[in-house]
Amino acid sequence: MRVHSTLKAGAIGLALAMIVTACTGGSSGTITNGQSAGASKGPVKRGGTVTIAELGVSPDFIFPLPPATNQNGYNANLTEAMWPYLVYAGDGAQSVVNKDKSLFSTLSYSNGDKRITIQLKPWNWSDGRPITSRDFSFVYNLLKANFSNWNAHLVGLFPEDVAKVSTPDARTVVLDLTKAYNPDFYTDDVLSTIPLLPQHAWDKTSAGGTVGDNDTTTAGAKAVYAYLQKEGAKTTSFSTNPLWKVVDGPWKLSEFRSNGYYSYVPNPAYSGSAKPVVDKVIESPFTTDTPEINALRSGSSLDVATLPLNDIKQAQALSSSGYSIASVPIPGVAAVMPNLYNTAVGALFRQLYIRQALEYLINRPQIVAKIYNGYADPGNGPVPVKATGTWASPLEKAGGPYPYNPATAKSLLQAHGWKVVPGGTTTCVSPGTGASQCGAGITAGQALTFNLLYSSGRTTTDEQNAAIKSSQAQAGITINLRSEPFNTLVSTIGTCTAASHPKSSCGWQLAEFGYDPYPLYPNGTGFFDTGGTNNYGGYSDPTMDKLIQATEYGASASTFTTYEDYAARQLPWLWLPLREGITVYRTKLRGVVPLNPFSSTNTFEDWYYTS
């Protein structure tokens, strides 16, 4: 009997130990810098299958020009491997144009930067037909007639800003623009959103219709676009529809299931130099990161996965399961948005000194070190220092204009008529508009109490905002936190401006969505300009507008730095650290690093197994 008891106790103990070990993982593991890591080499073994975890949302549209109502960013993940953009963003770890993978051979600006001459590479479609300038004019004609129903359209830009498209020969496109642009801006932010599409196969209005020059009339372009949009939404025929079999990228779709599972095989006719080595790439959908981590740790099915930073504690366990882990900075801006026109607190946010005090009280270095374990951009201003370092100004690289400094924050408030009560409630004791008074619209006794709405679902975000709440309290500023699912947050936060204060969508005071991504050229269009699409809080400053326009239309390199430093100092948003992306990959799979900040796990034509 005693033997039985001992055995039973031992068995239970063993089981518990196994559970504890399995559930906790390790405390640390080697995470390489995905940007600086050199491309590891090894004997190339041709063939093999790579299975990639696809976390969160799955693609649902295959035509590369999705409608305005379809905001699923994963559609670009699906299509980019088959129809790459004219300008390919990211070369290895560098945030620059990848000339090798782009479809142009030369891009030249002339006529005071109002004319762009594009020379296309002598590449072919998968059916053997050449890629020609007609394929560009096909895209242009479709978008010209339908731009309001294209989700990547930016108001006033392509194709609205094109006066004329000419195609002097089969490989040359000449774009005459209505105004002069900064070449960096136009190449990096506009031409990088335009794929070439096979006019010889897609220029028809029905499945049985004749391919012709239907796109050359507005009515015809509308009909072609409507047909391609209709076909592009049919998930059941993504891999079988003859339309989608004509590609110019390195991959062809071989299977697509309605749950988001899909696979590629190499396009044998791909003309680029980086030809696929592996036989097949599978994208396997995961609804949350929990089963993804379990699948990785069971070591069976996954070769590559991206992980939320919350799971960084699993690094050791994953390393011991044969995986390598790399981090990559995200090109984007993370911030808390103040609502300058909220009825209760808008007057407070309209005061620059209050925004400055709030920023001085965000301990960004500590958030980076303690919450993100060092895997985050410092968030010193509007331009990320790590991901798009070439554009970051010396001011941002030096820590930004408002390094963590509670004493300065308190002094600022006191100098403007506030009674600062650390740990308590700071109140305005000197209302008025004088230099040493609280400012317009702020009443005596008004407290610095704000509600911060943020997107739920990430432990690191919870911890970050709890840290902000705590550090703001040092100057008597109260932050009330509330988290909501991202879509719920988006649905309740509307744009508020001086002219508009709808109760239903202007009730928010501070909001944090996570981050806003940048294209290659990280200027502030749409974020900080008056009426910008993402300018929810109603920030409006003629000087900022002028500086942003200068980054789009001016040719001087210094205009960007001038804009950047001005935005960093003016605080249209409160700058925050931006977490990095974490990629897990089988150690025997080479070519994954250095990670491209713009398409870290989509460059699978560069991947191979070692023999």
């Binding site: 089981a15 196994m18 559970i19 070990t21 399995a22 559930c23 649902d60 549209f61 305005a68 109502t69 379809n70 905001q71 699923n72 309001s148 108001v155 939404a233 998930t235 299931r257 309605s258 749950n259 599972y261 396997s284 959908p285 995961f286 609804t287 949350t288 929990t290 089963p291 993804e292 379990n294 699948a295 740790r297 069971s298 070591g299 069976s300 099915s301 699912p485 991202f486 879509n487 719920t488 988006v490 649905s491 309740t492 936060i493 509307g494 744009t495 239903s504 969508s505 969505f513 806003d516 749409g526 699409t533 993402n534 929810y536």
Partner: protein, 317 residues
């Protein structure tokens, strides 16, 4: 019986319509805009207006509801705002998956709970009864997501015996063709349900065993095995029938937690994601299907009562 069934069907229609009215009102009372939730942070006022017009959201609520009812009556549940596919297609893809998972787990739970409950009733008050009671309460009190994670930690991560994910195939045939991947999710749901079912069976069997007809049966020399099978088992099933009838709703509504843990997108995940993204067509369509399943399950339970217990008769009128 026919009149009874007609009356119950009529009641069911009223109940389903009532559920739809309440659901429709609730989702529209919730603050926020479906257009903004769908179009994301870069939605312009123009795009929001186009979205609202295209989906009829700029019309009065009553008109929207009437349109939904008319379309639903014609078999059209609308198109998802966020997934851009017909709701009926989305439900048709996911419902069979939940049917397999929850159907198998329910069958396994019953297969385990019936003998266990009757065994406990027969051995009432003895060590075996106490042991199974502890087991039942233990299993019942463990949240299913935690139980699932424990099983994965042991059998997938540590021992590498079973896959951590449920089958990823789309068709029922494909799912059943991967039985190893079904083991952990089915076991997770079955053991928790078994704990619940076995308590009902035990209680019911204890009452049945105390009935005079059981003593009569025994006194006639009927073997105990036959007494249990013919008299106790049949009568002990009645309360379980009620639970099973109501669990038809669960089979259709999905198991959101188990679906998440085992990466098995079904009705539960579909409904959860629709709720967070204000995808009204999916919310209404799913509610309609679940409502119908609930009343049908309840009706089948009532009919099963009369079949199992001849004393129960449904009176017309």
């Amino acid at each position: 019986m026919r009149a009874y069934l007609l009356r119950r069907t009529g009641q069911a229609v009223v109940v389903v319509i009532g559920v739809m009215v309440v659901t429709f009102a609730l989702i529209h009372l919730e603050p926020g805009s479906a257009a903004r939730a769908t179009l994301g942070t870069r939605a312009t006022d123009e795009r929001i207006a186009v979205f609202n017009a295209a989906n009829g959201l700029n019309r009065p609520l009553t008109a929207q509801f009437v349109s939904f009812v008319k379309q639903a009556a014609a078999g059209n549940l609308g198109t998802s705002y966020s997934l851009h596919q017909p709701v009926s297609t989305l439900i048709a893809q996911r419902l069979p998956r939940d049917g397999v998972l929850l159907g198998l787990s329910t069958l396994l739970a019953l297969a385990l709970a019936l003998p266990m409950g009757i065994f406990q009733a027969v051995r009432r008050g003895r060590a075996e009864d106490h042991a199974f009671t502890v087991l039942s309460f233990g299993l019942y009190s463990i949240p299913d997501f935690f139980f699932g994670l424990l099983l994965i930690a042991i059998f997938s991560v540590q021992l590498h015996l079973l896959p951590s994910q449920a089958p990823q195939a789309q068709s029922i045939g494909g799912i059943l063709a991967d039985p190893r991947a079904l083991v952990l999710p089915v076991l997770t749901l079955a053991l928790v349900s078994m704990a619940s079912f076995s308590r009902y069976v035990r209680s019911s069997a204890i009452i049945t065993l105390a009935q005079e007809y059981i003593q009569v049966a025994r006194s006639t020399g009927l073997p105990e095995r036959l007494v249990l099978r013919r008299h106790v088992l049949r009568n002990s099933l009645l309360p379980v029938i009620t639970v099973l009838g109501l669990s038809a709703r669960d089979i259709v509504a999905g198991a959101v937690i188990a679906e998440a843990v085992f990466n098995y997108p079904g009705m539960g995940q579909l409904f959860f994601q629709a709720a967070t993204s204000k995808d009204y067509p999916i919310l209404l369509g799913s509610t309609l299907v679940v409502g119908v399943a609930t009343v049908i399950g309840s009706l089948i339970a009532d009919i099963a009562y009369s079949l199992l217990d001849p004393r129960i008769r449904y009176v017309d009128g």
